[in-house]
């Protein structure tokens, strides 16, 4: 079955701004604008960039004890997530693999969940089937944009003073340009910034208010990928999937202490065992020494020629000024400083295991 590509409420704006449109997970999305990926990347690290992330799934969960019930599907402490707070999480399967990652916000009278574009068709039925007594409603009439970068607070705060009061991983309803928006201080670039859910009818107008600021320019999927890679953030389908456990993916930080101890989520047996005993492989940062980028699928070998694993995400890091990558390697070769070889087009290229992220995260805690 092939569905016609879908367009977000911002599609006409992307075209107007000269965005180069590509198919992404069934959506017609801008991969870059005339500024180019490098320029957009730099814009986000130095000033502010506006991204359309409306293709992601926005879901409202209503009912009693939503947080407790979500804990039966995810290893996160969502029951104790305070009102106005957001938390990164993931659905696990019975084998302890990651089904998708998501951001969950406690919005007071409901929970607000954002899931990946390609997996909304899996995640919505999964929640509907397993969250007993919870009304699971996917929202189709709102856009989602991200304003990211050190100037994001100025760009958004000028229009919405309440945005300045939010700290990292906090969420609130606020007025922007006369429109009621959900504004959350979080994002996927390693920079300070916001994700803002806007009613569809006002999405272009509000986005243009952000873009009217001298320090804000549009950025596409290309920059989004290079930014998140430098920030050491996993991309579902590349770095994490149904077969990888969160412990292998070095996402231990995203499983709170109580949940580690109590278990009670799908795959808890494997995850608790791996927390106690470690894993055979581990997701790490990998810095090629030369200039050649190591792309997804490139084999990682020990200096002695043994296969250690493979690159899961690899590109050129514009801020780093050279190639950057993430991938899985055998745990006994996962320490920062370990020298490895990357087999790029048949030739061994020297590289080093490094601590993630490649660039310092700039969140306003």
């Amino acid at each position: 079955m092939t569905d016609a590509p879908k367009r977000t409420p911002l599609y006409d704006l992307h075209v107007e701004l000269g965005g180069k449109i590509v198919d992404f997970a069934g959506w017609e999305m801008p991969v870059q604008y005339p500024m180019g990926i490098m320029g957009e990347h730099k814009q986000c690290r130095e000033k502010a960039a506006l991204f359309d992330v409306s293709h992601m799934g926005q879901v409202i969960l209503r009912g009693d004890n939503v947080g407790e019930k979500l804990e039966t599907l995810c290893p996160q402490a969502f029951a104790t997530l305070k009102e106005g707070k957001a938390r990164y999480g993931f659905f696990t399967n019975d084998d302890g693999g990651i089904m998708d990652d998501l951001i969950v916000s406690n919005a007071g009278d409901h929970y607000f969940v954002v899931v990946n574009a390609a997996l909304r068709h899996q995640d919505i039925p999964h929640m509907q089937a397993n969250l007993d007594g919870i009304e699971v409603t996917e929202i189709f009439d709102r856009a989602l944009v991200a304003v990211q970068g050190p100037k994001a607070e100025d760009v958004v705060g000028e229009l919405c003073p309440a945005a300045r009061d939010l700290k990292f991983m906090e969420t609130a309803i606020a007025d922007i340009g006369g429109v009621e928006c959900r504004i959350s201080r979080l994002g996927y670039t390693g920079e300070d910034g916001y994700e803002i859910s806007i009613p569809e009818a006002d999405a272009i107008r509000v986005s243009k208010l952000f873009l009217a600021h001298d320090d804000c320019e549009p950025a596409g999927l290309g920059a989004r990928d290079s930014l998140r890679l430098e920030a050491g953030l996993c991309l579902y389908g590349n770095d994490i999937d149904q077969s990888t456990s969160p412990i292998e993916a070095s996402l231990n930080w995203a499983i709170q202490k109580r949940r580690r101890e109590e278990g009670g989520f799908p795959g808890a047996a494997r995850i608790q065992k791996e927390l106690a005993e470690g894993t055979a492989k581990k997701l790490v940062g990998i810095k090629p020494e030369g200039r050649a980028p190591a792309r997804q699928g490139v084999e990682v070998q020990s200096e002695g020629g043994d296969t250690l694993g493979a690159i899961t995400s690899g590109s050129f890091g514009p801020t780093v000024g050279g190639p950057v990558a993430m991938g899985y390697v055998a745990a006994d070769h996962s320490a920062a400083g370990t020298k490895v070889n990357l087999i790029i087009r048949g030739k061994a290229q020297p590289a080093e295991i490094v601590a993630l992220p490649f660039v310092t995260q700039n969140y306003k805690r």
Binding site: Q32, G36, I37, M38, S226, R291, P293, R295, F316
Partner: protein, 121 residues
């Protein structure tokens, strides 16, 4: 000095039996920002249609294919330190190889500028 174009978006200029080879402005625009060029070495021999290098942009890797048989007599080594030159001056300073042609009649299979313009529309 005649300039020829290949369907793989390369340009070739010929002086005597030495051809200079690069990628077209159209190819450079399609690739996006170039961050790395993998080149062969002087003395390497090319066969028409064979892979003779790789251009990596921020987005992806793209192979360069030989438009002619020949032997590399010079490599533009400035591209190693400044791969971005391929975006700025693909049909000028950022040539990739000079090749000694082994069969000049292969030039007849390539396009002239009008033919290439028709190809890229």
């Amino acid at each position: 000095m005649a300039t020829y174009y290949s369907e793989d978006h390369e340009w070739i200029t010929v002086e005597g039996d030495v051809a200079t080879l690069g990628i077209t402005q159209h190819a450079a625009d399609q690739l996006g920002e170039v961050v790395f060029v993998e080149q062969r070495e002087t003395g390497d021999e090319f066969e028409k249609g064979g892979e003779i290098g790789v251009i990596e942009s921020v987005k992806a890797a793209s192979e360069i294919y030989a438009p002619l048989d020949g032997e590399v007599v010079e490599v533009n080594e400035t591209l190693a330190d400044n791969p971005g030159a391929l975006n700025e001056s693909p049909e000028g300073d950022a040539w990739i190889y000079k090749i000694k042609l082994s069969d000049a009649s292969q030039l007849d299979d390539l396009m002239d500028l009008d033919g290439y313009k028709a190809l890229i529309g």
